[in-house]
Symmetry: C2
């Protein structure tokens, strides 16, 4: 028998936990609902399997749902022993669950619940069930997400006006347990900064508790906790770190101690945001955003290379059709999700996962296509948000960056369809769109792509032209021109969000400007660390001073001080400095193309496919060793096939 | 200020209670999930209103959901007082509710929640909110369906083997409260018949309780309760009748005491099945079936003429798109639902209700059309159930009865579209289908419609030809031929289900054979009463004896003894004997065309439109009085306009 696992209707686990997560934001004493449509899991499901018992035995359908078992021509109750004679059988378990989602578990020598079962939500369309290696025992409960916990002791406790301030030394996330005396309410103020914790009026998370409240408070982000109460020193308070035990497969050390610290802070920040799904940030809004997630997928592959958070996030973002708005209501975010599904499949090669999400990917694609204009361009329809980036963009009429994303969606769909043996109806659309974009948005005189061809302003943004390079939309002379006239043009407005900055830095690396990225890492991320950051902030403006850094969105402490997209250096250093990337589906082949850039020495381990590559550089000597086959080392244009386990040395001349 | 009402996202109330109802079936100790897909209410909703406060005031958003209020540019908590200055305002209340559905209530001199609010489920498509006159006070809770309760005392208590048998004298439905002693479990066996209650092994509903179980048991159907326990006489037991206070607007009395009793039993049966929605039967399966509901809609209009149960049932059956199977998985049942929406609108004229369900009606229509074959015929696709009726039918290839229903769907859609000022794309399809049905299914030699043109069997069923007459599909000579060769042809297999029997009796009345229907009422319904029925059974076979009557679906007590479709005589007597029916939308005009048939005297009150008509007949004198305008009395072809409140007398010669 294989390992028994709890089973559920495909996607229900992710949709259920995404629903809970989307209903957890709190702000200034209000419960703050998620601002887009949230899917619910199914009420009922029928789980089925045909099996052969090689001897007499018995089973018990363990479930917290209600329902019955159809077996041997009879209706039988769940949670009771059922004799199973040797021979061939069909079994179906029909469950409903109004509060959670239908799920069950069988672990017997004659039958186990596992991937071989199918389930339908009584829609006559059975699908492979959902299951997870996290839920393999009768006592497990898939409606409770199984985090790990570690106690966290405060580094400092100090008296402050009206109470006591706990400083846990660095950003963390988890439940706080507080002993509230009878008839003496206690106010907790959570602060990512000291200033936030000490400002109950303006802090995002604050609550006043009485002894009848649950002493274990919901897991939240904080570095500081201000306990406002009489005799606050005598109020017992304990904090725990709530996390997933995801083990890093990557490491990076170079001759810059600052860069090494940045790597560590980025990795810690990323782990804090790697939960049921990829969060944008752990304080606010703690929702799942597809644009943020797209960057997290890339970072995750280069940090712990575990597909589970990515796959849960893809299922959560896909939700349940019909699609009535774009993902997170943002046109670009629908596009990223489809592009991400291709990139995830390319890196990991999990066809079963791809098949399981493919119908919804196609429905999302159909939704995108159903809203194009007569030219086949993305335009803002009712309820749409053409985001691309904060900052100066010309959003009149169709926006060029959206069209490049759509072109990449077509190409991703074409590759996904090919991987699944389905007809390619996408490439022809990509080709037609390619021509239309070039005829409408290319400005010969400016030598770059315009944001808009309808406004007459001929505005050139970095963002649009970054996409043209990043997705290989621009080639040859067009690409050269884009690089010269947009990417490297100092006269264009700078990108100011760390979110789009990552795309820009990736584009700079692609055009051989790794050193620019390395310098930016030291100035931007280094700048935050110099301000005392213990995790990477949502944004950083070196001209701001003190608590000015914490304000955003019109709120004194509105900025998140632990934001996933800030972990981009992990991707940049692994992909472009260590230079490791897959070149075929599942990383069965990959390239190792190191570029030390400004570093004189570095040592990196980079996951790829099912293995990893170790790269050691100490100018001018480079040593590379991969633990899986398929690698090709590229130095100065020389290609060397890498045998697993074998060390290869090269001399890399100074740049 | 108008009456304040609890508000929710349109349809959530019905979908929530339909979900609960669909998860209540129990059978032989098992929880028995509904066998089709069940929709869930929304997780979150945003309620909005623009309003003018004519003075300073305050509001409080009362809710059991979580969320916040956006008002005056601020986020404010729910359930707390919010000052409202005089002037123009926009307010939005954003709520989520993981356990129930988002709902709120405001009742203040400056603002109330009512029909004028809109709500969206964060899909950028605001709709008028849902609300109900059942929920108008702060203490009300729309997640609890507000039934009325009356105590019911047993008529007889007798000792039986191993316990005590309570006989409540007639079929009823409600919660039983039982005092279970500590450490002495009590078994309750529910029986619609004495035999069922005394057969714990085979009774459908039985349960063994301990003192830790809730002493108030879920509302269930029963006439008998068998308490199996030691010292069962000393176990306290109380029963209540759970019902909706729907007041009959109809009455019927004639010179047959048996018919009068049948009317009363039919009315009682119908009230027992008129609950959150129209049930098929109160014991089993207590699900909402569209075919059964279609008949209930007609009966309801002629009994209490309150649209609320019908409208809730329509919303529940429509559920939430996308449609992946037919309603209840049955092709004919999708058709009835659309036809019913038209008939409901025609009788009641409620355009707001129609507009609110129209998008889903159109999606259901699209689903039906998406599954037609190349001839435009309904054929069984994956997951479909071509039901029509139990009994002998030739279901090879497209079935004629399904095509006639489809034709009626097209006609209903055309009329609904016209009522809403939308384009009629349906009539042309109806006309094309009319031709195709006649060319493929009409058998000139047999003078009737065949069930199938593919099997070669040339089988003529009553069912198919009943539909041809009932929906006015057959006209002129074709109709005459159908009547002679099918409807009145004694050689065709008889219809044996009371469900289809109602359609047949309606068709017989339409062709002037009221007396046949009257005789059948006395023999069939009268036969059940002679067997001791206190409510109308799911089916009745006069050749069966004793407890044989209670068996069905392969189970000794599988038959429901209180089935809604058995209340058809209410419709037959009101529509065809009293002869009242609407002739324009909302019953603004109506006809009164009495036909005493075999009765020498009758007195009837029949609801129509917003009023009712009283008809008194004592051979040969007929008196008619309507309390609303628009009526036309038709006797022997003579038409008389009826002034409200005025009595009209006519002499009706013996037939």
């Amino acid at each position: 028998m294989s390992q028994a696992k709890w089973i559920w209707y495909q996607g229900d686990f992710e949709i259920y936990h995404h629903m809970l997560l989307s209903c957890r934001r709190q702000e200034k004493g209000c419960d703050y609902p998620c601002q887009w449509h949230i899917s619910r899991p199914e009420v009922s499901a029928s789980f089925r399997r045909e099996f052969t018992a090689d001897r007499d035995g018995e089973i018990r359908v363990v479930t917290r749902s209600k329902g019955m078992v159809r077996f041997g021509g009879r209706l039988l109750p769940v949670n009771k022993t059922i004799p199973v004679p040797a021979g061939e059988h069909k079994i179906s378990v029909e469950l409903y669950d109004i509060e959670k989602f239908p799920a069950c578990f069988i672990d017997s020598p004659v039958l186990v619940t596992d991937e071989r079962w199918t389930a339908e939500c009584f829609d006559r369309r059975p699908l492979p069930v959902g299951c997870s290696p996290m839920f393999t025992s009768e006592r497990d409960d898939p409606s409770v997400f199984p985090f790990d916990y570690e106690d966290r002791a405060p580094e400092r406790i100090e008296d402050a006006e009206g109470g006591v301030l706990y400083d846990f030394g660095k950003e963390t996330f988890g439940p706080v347990t507080v002993g509230v005396p009878e008839n003496a309410p206690v106010t907790l103020v959570y602060g990512e900064s000291r200033e936030e914790a000490l400002d109950p009026e303006n802090a995002l998370i604050r609550e006043t508790l009485t002894s009848s409240d649950d002493p274990v408070r919901p897991a939240r982000a904080f570095r500081y906790i201000f306990v406002k109460a009489e005799n606050a020193r005598r109020i017992p308070l304990r904090a725990a770190y709530e996390f997933l035990p995801l083990e890093d497969k990557a490491s990076f050390r170079c001759d810059s101690a600052l860069v090494n610290r940045i790597w560590d802070v980025c990795a810690y920040t990323f782990h804090l945001n790697s939960r049921e799904f990829f969060l944008d940030g752990i304080k606010r809004d703690r929702w799942v955003w597809s644009g943020d997630a797209y960057q997290s997928f890339m970072i995750a592959r280069y940090l712990y290379n575990d597909p589970s958070v990515t796959e849960r996030t893809v299922r959560a973002l896909l939700g349940k059709p019909p699609y009535r708005t774009h993902v997170n209501t943002i046109n670009d975010y629908s596009a990223y999700l489809i592009i991400a599904v291709w990139e995830h499949y390319f890196a990991g090669g999990d066809e079963a996962f791809l098949r399981s999400v493919w119908p919804r990917v196609k429905e999302l694609y159909d939704f995108i296509v159903s809203r194009l204009d007569e030219n086949g361009f993305v335009v803002p329809r009712h309820g749409d948000w053409i985001f691309i980036d904060w900052g100066v963009l010309d959003k009149d009429g169709p926006h060029c960056a959206e069209q490049i994303l759509l072109w990449q969606v077509y190409r991703s769909m074409a590759r996904l369809a090919a991987a699944l043996g389905e007809e390619d109806v996408y490439t022809v659309r990509a080709q037609a769109l390619f021509g239309k974009i070039n005829s409408r948005f290319w400005d010969k005189e400016k030598g770059a792509y315009l944001d808009s061809f309808t406004s007459g302003k001929r505005f050139v943004s970095r963002q649009t032209n970054v996409f043209a390079v990043l997705f290989d939309f621009a080639e040859g002379k067009i690409r050269d021109s884009v690089i010269e006239n947009a990417i490297l043009n100092p006269d264009l407005p700078q990108i100011t969000t760390p979110y789009f900055k990552l795309y820009e830095l990736m584009a700079l690396c692609r055009i051989g400007r790794l050193e620019t990225a390395q310098e930016y890492i030291e100035s931007y991320w280094g700048g935050m660390l110099a301000e005392g950051a213990t995790s990477v902030w949502e944004a950083y403006d070196p001209t701001q001073r003190g608590a000015e850094h914490y304000a955003m969105y019109g709120s004194d402490f509105g900025k998140s001080l632990c934001h996933a997209w800030g972990s981009g250096p992990i991707l940049l250093l692994s992909r472009y400095c260590a230079g490791v990337f897959p070149t075929s589906i599942g990383g069965k082949t990959f390239r190792v193309q190191p570029d030390p850039g400004k570093y004189r020495a570095f040592e990196a381990q980079v996951p790829v496919g099912n293995g990893s590559v170790r790269i050691t550089y100490s100018a001018p000597e480079l040593t590379v060793c991969a633990d899986v086959p398929g690698g090709t080392l590229v130095v100065e244009g020389r290609e060397t096939a890498l045998e697993p386990g074998k060390r290869y040395s090269e001399t890399v001349p100074d740049a």
